[in-house]
Symmetry: C2
Amino acid sequence: MDRIYKALAEINRRKIIFWLGRGELNVSQIVKKLDLSQATISNHLSILRKSKLVDFKVKGKERIYKLNSETINQFVKELNRLMPTTDTNLENEIIIRR
Amino acid sequence: MDRIYKALAEINRRKIIFWLGRGELNVSQIVKKLDLSQATISNHLSILRKSKLVDFKVKGKERIYKLNSETINQFVKELNRLMPTTDTNLENEIIIRR
DNA sequence: TTGACATATTGACGATTATCGATATAATCT
DNA sequence: AGATTATATCGATAATCGTCAATATGTCAA
């Protein structure tokens, strides 16, 4: 979990996650979206990979990155354990835990 | 939001949040929970304060820290915007919408 | 007002991080 | 094979971060 929190602490990595939430992208496409060098993006992707927040699949010489929704779900769960919300925004829902 | 992500990136600050989730604490009590110097705890509290994740009230010479649930709710909302979950992991919960 | 206690701030230090140019690796194309 | 394209890794550098001893500030009690 520590890696995930650290991965999310950097704004450009959050931007990458934002874009990947809107669809899969290869590295060059990500480089175009953020104004950073290819080496820097590659480093950010390495950190995101290690956190398991993202995955990739190989397609020829490209690597197509995407979010790893299993990790995301786990993280959101863990975050709710750390800081339970009062759910004021879901005021019309009743949650029954068994 | 950046301050919040950064505040959460450090494990001892997350521990402080964990403990505050279980009840309000003054600084000396927090120092006892984590094995860090008073100066370090005070510095972490300063960062948590700036992120607005925590608040305090004065009681004599003590400062009693507590979570700021408004900020927490905002953050969880923002996080869901950044990384929407598929909620597959909430299988033991029943949500009744009215 | 002096002394003890609670907390914050300062200044220093080593550790970690973000960034990039240069280079390496690997796949594809001619 | 050699050139081209896509991505990763290396090495360096500057900036930020976590930590603590020392000191400052504020509060209470005798």
